[in-house]
Amino acid sequence: MTSRAEITEGLAEILEEVAGVNPGDVAEEKSFTDDLDVDSLSMVEVVVAAEEKFGVKIPDDEVQNLKTVGDAVSFIEKAQA
């Protein structure tokens, strides 16, 4: 089990590597597209890296529901449980 804070931190590392997002900007309420400037193709790269890092499956249909960092954290938390 990973805590929400740890998942957020892990996502911040991925976002920095894939899309050059400053880890300091990553917080649960931030929107991937509007706040962090992650476009739909970079989002796919984030999702695949997150699957690997957290050992979960994030189907394509689910990706469009992940609007904010918090949405992604919740999905990963639930998928790991």
Binding site: D39, S40, L41, V44, E45, V48, D60, V63
Partner: protein, 314 residues
């Protein structure tokens, strides 16, 4: 079994240029967005030309570049997914336009991977002794199946054709077309569609991007392994021109550090089965690849299908 080789290439693009600025007047989009997402600056759009017209023009140039004549040709294979007529096929129309008397002539439809499938089919026919000299074409008129009000697809596609003359190697000559790696992912066959009677292209872009980014690098590596070539030895890498954000990472992951990487998408858009022969013909015309250098061709797209082979630069 005698192998085969590419003797010459030729290509044809319509003269009408459609820029990103032109598209911004048709749908809600802009130049920066298109360049950032797919890397396209402009594309060519057919006006009067049919798929067969463009295929024949490219094939005619390839034939002229090869030094062979129509009388030498015994096989024509055309890769296309956008020819609206079901019958006659494009290959026999190319034959009629070029005056090739009685060739075996058929079309191949594996969408964007079509040229590599067609090239492999020609190579196999020559190895089996069923052909000596073949014309292999990729030709598309995607503008005819594009929904010009859909901003997610209208910005992507273009029209054009490229062609190769493929001939049997001499006895003891090293084969110029390496073994094909081909296959498909049928579970994803709904992510790119041109379905129905008067159809438009639809695609689930993120699903296609995910497949292309993560499933293709090992397959492209397999093509090199089958040919006994290290990616670093390649003189050129000519993948299907779908998106610069697929092409550049694919080149990086493969480690094609010494190769010219085809980026014709910038000026031609995505021309499906035509994109590889079009890009390759232009590389050869500009003499960017030394004669004899190994080149990796790798097609992928609707189906989802893929096929690739290492070929020797003529």
């Amino acid at each position: 079994m005698t192998g085969s080789k590419i003797l010459a290439m030729g290509h044809y693009q319509p003269s009408r240029v459609l820029t990103n600025g032109d598209l911004a007047n048709m749908v809600d989009t802009n130049d920066a967005w298109i360049r950032d997402r797919v890397g396209i600056a402009e594309r060519r759009i057919a006006e009067g030309e049919t798929v067969a017209d463009m295929a024949a023009a490219a094939a005619g140039k390839a034939l002229a570049n090869s030094g062979l004549t129509a009388a030498d040709i015994d096989l024509i294979i055309v890769a296309t997914c956008s020819s609206v007529d079901r019958c006659p096929n494009v290959a026999t129309r190319v034959a009629a336009k070029l005056g090739v008397a009685a060739p075996a002539a058929f079309d191949v439809n594996t969408a964007c991977s079509g040229f590599s499938y067609a090239l492999a089919s020609a190579d196999h026919a020559i190895r089996a002794g069923a052909s000596r000299n073949a014309i292999v074409v990729g030709a598309e008129k995607l503008s005819e199946v594009t929904d010009w009000s859909d901003r997610s697809t209208a910005v992507l596609f273009g029209d054009g054709a490229g062609a190769a003359i493929v001939t049997a190697c001499a006895e003891n000559e090293e084969p110029g077309i390496g073994p094909v790696v081909w296959g498909s992912a049928p579970e994803l066959n709904d992510v790119i569609q041109i379905e129905g009677w008067r159809p438009y292209i639809k695609q689930a872009g993120q699903s296609v991007f995910r497949w292309a980014t993560y499933s293709l690098p090992p397959l492209a590596r397999q093509v090199c392994e089958k040919a006994g070539i290290e990616p670093s030895e390649l003189g050129a890498f000519v993948p299907h021109q779908a998106n610069l954000r697929i092409i550049d990472p694919l080149a990086r992951k493969l480690g094609v550090v010494n190769a010219v990487v085809a980026r014709d998408i910038v000026e031609s858009g995505n021309t499906s089965a035509a994109s590889i022969p079009l890009a390759l013909s232009k590389l050869l015309e500009r003499r960017e690849v030394p004669s004899g250098a190994p080149m990796l061709l790798f097609g992928f797209g609707g189906g989802l299908t893929y096929a690739g082979q290492v070929v020797r630069c003529p």
